[in-house]
């Protein structure tokens, strides 16, 4: 194991034990959990612009759909969180397919405009369909995440109002999404997406059905977005339509671009940086007498700076799909052995 990996492991372990420390502050925990929500979103969004090369400006729409699905199912039917997560993911994916199937024939800018319109539609729907969503009044009183283990022991029924358990559930979900993303990236599916991003015509002539794979990408991305929304709903316990405004999409897109399009770890890092930056700016800008909203100007400035100095993000997506896969490691060894044998025979010939 290299030094870098060891350091990373150490930092990870440190962060994960932070909530258990006696000095841990609720505010820091809240920011960390929020960062993890955005990690889920950034990983999900990464599929569409990162793997497939399509600009998606309406990601927050699926986030909103997932959040309201979770909120409404909790309030009206009292379903447990663990049942709602897959349902919200399915609902998100369903809307992903409904939006994607007709519009993914569009390319580039036109597709971006359609997705932008979609996210605005979702906000309008949430604002105006008062019978369902209570509109601008918002959706208060959502139960927190519960864990019902009373079938094991009568006393094991937990309601997670505290910050700490929510932090761990968020960490669990980030780990799960990360795992799924890594496996998808190093598979037939991930390679098909990479092919579409690199050269659609060549991908088609390799037998990749471009439209199908774009729709699949869009649906999975939407499903992950909805999972993020689902956790957010049960964690914040209150939803309102203006939480899902366009700029959230833009923020998540910034995270993906900042980390490096198409790189899963990059999306994680981007989420951490921008969430922390948002918090810092909120404090510091109000301290010097500017309204907190001016932080959006700072985001814009950051984007400009990234484009100028790190056009491919912190982790440029290298063609590393599955470099750590045992199959490839084995192949690498065989190739090295072959090269060595060749060298030897050349030496003996000389």
């Amino acid at each position: 194991m290299t030094k870098g990996k060891l350091l990373l492991l150490f930092i990870g372990a440190g962060l994960l034990t932070y909530p258990l420390l006696p000095l841990s502050s609720d505010y820091v925990l809240h920011v960390m959990t929020l960062a993890m929500v955005y990690m889920i979103l950034a990983m999900g969004l990464n599929i569409v612009p990162g793997f497939c090369g399509l600009l998606d400006l309406g990601y927050v729409g699926f986030y909103g759909i997932g959040a309201y699905t979770a909120g409404l199912l909790t309030i009206h039917y009292g379903l447990p969180f663990w049942v709602i997560v897959p349902l919200a993911a399915l609902n998100g994916a369903l809307w992903g397919v409904l939006l994607g199937a007709p519009t993914l024939r569009l390319t580039g800018d036109y597709f971006a405009i359609v997705t932008f319109g979609f996210s605005e539609l979702v906000v309008l729907f949430l604002t105006n369909e008062i019978w369902l969503t209570r509109g601008p009044l918002g959706l208060p009183g959502i139960q927190p995440i519960t864990l019902n283990l009373s079938w094991l022991n009568k006393a094991w029924y937990f309601e997670f109002y505290e910050k700490t358990p929510n932090f761990y559930i968020a960490a669990l979900m980030v780990a799960l999404v990360y795992f799924i993303m890594c496996r998808m990236e190093d598979s037939r599916l991930g390679r098909a997406w990479y092919a579409i991003r690199e050269d659609p015509l060549a991908a088609a002539s390799c037998g990749v059905n471009i439209l199908n794979y774009k729709v699949i990408a869009f649906a999975i991305s939407a499903g992950i977005g909805a999972v993020g929304g689902c956790f957010y709903a049960r964690w914040s316990m209150f939803l309102s339509p203006d939480m899902f405004k366009f700029w959230e999409s833009f923020l998540v897109l910034c995270m993906v671009v900042l980390g490096g399009l198409g790189n899963i770890k990059g999306a994680l890092l981007g989420a951490v940086i921008l969430v922390c930056l948002g918090e810092i700016l909120r404090e510091s800008l109000t301290a010097i007498g500017l309204p907190a909203e001016t932080r959006f100007i700072a985001y814009g400035l950051i984007m400009v700076l990234i484009m100028r100095f790190k056009p491919s993000g912190f982790f440029p997506a290298v063609a590393s799909s599955g470099r750590s896969n045992p199959l490839l490691i084995d192949l690498q060894k065989r190739l090295a052995a072959g090269a060595a044998a060749k060298e030897k025979s050349r030496d003996s010939a000389a």
Binding site: R183, A202, C206, G207, A317, V318, S321, G338
Partner: protein, 262 residues
């Protein structure tokens, strides 16, 4: 015997421009067919019609991979690939930011079928399929002589190797018919020689080759039959010797006066 591919009265019109006018010819099994003609004659257009990029305005393209003939006009490119028609491009179109191996692995897409769930769960089926994808890919890389560079980036290959990688990628889809669009363009004599050997090896593997090429020496030496296009019409068809002496072909390449003098 039915020909592998039958082009029957194919026309393609782009607005007012007649790119192909009533072209008919056959491609037989186990042959190398050369497609030549001056620039803008419609050679790549007919390739694109066969490969599914364009839909012919009229006429039929009939493909007979096994016992059954299929009319394939207007099929999508991925469908053509699945049926057994693979192609390379005039200007190389590799997945440049991926590795050499990944380029080939993507080409195995149409012959494999692991889906989302199987990929995430890494079922035994998916694992063994991934293994066979790597093995098949390596076999094709060995076939074109690029196996030792399997894990380097596709963009780091030399020009001639990139051409060969593109051919390997097309071969990895297990085609019956391989369309090569100017494979020798920009190659030095040594690379061209390697290419000729490669094309013969492809033929020996039971794959029929159709070739667009401007290097006349190459075309005349490896093709048993040639089809000559000019301004979207077929002006000659036959063996290399006949074509070389055909006055209409000389006229198309060199102009009217040249044909008279010859």
């Amino acid at each position: 015997m039915t020909p592998l591919l039958k082009i029957d009265g194919v026309s393609k019109r782009f607005g007012g421009l007649m790119a192909l006018a009533d072209i008919s010819f056959d491609v037989h099994e186990k042959e190398i067919l050369g497609l030549i003609g001056p620039n803008g004659a419609g050679k790549t257009t007919i390739f694109n019609c066969i490969a599914g990029v364009y839909k012919p305005t009229s006429g039929d393209i009939v493909f007979t991979p096994g016992d059954t003939s299929i009319r394939i006009n207007g099929f999508k490119p991925e469908k053509m690939t699945e049926l057994g028609i693979a192609r390379t491009f005039q200007n190389i179109r590799l997945f440049t930011s991926l590795t050499v191996l990944d380029n080939i692995r993507i080409a195995r897409h149409c012959r494999t079928k692991a889906n989302f769930l199987r990929s995430v769960l890494r079922t035994p089926f998916q694992k063994s399929e991934e293994k066979s994808i790597v093995e098949d890919s390596m076999r094709w890389l060995e076939f074109v002589g690029l196996a030792s560079q399997a894990l380097s980036d596709a963009s780091s290959l030399s020009y001639g190797n990139q051409r060969r990688l593109e051919i390997a990628r097309a071969l990895a889809t297990e085609p019956k018919l391989l369309l090569l669009d100017e494979p020798a363009a920009g190659m030095n004599p040594k690379e061209t020689r390697i290419l000729v050997d490669l094309i013969h090896a492809i033929l020996d593997a039971g794959i029929c080759v159709m070739l667009i090429e401007h290097d006349m020496k190459l075309v005349m030496s490896i093709c048993e039959r040639l089809v000559v296009l000019d301004h979207g019409t077929l002006i000659a068809e036959g063996g290399p010797r006949d074509i070389r002496e055909n006055p209409r072909v000389i006229e198309a390449y060199l102009g009217r006066g040249a044909a008279g003098n010859a």
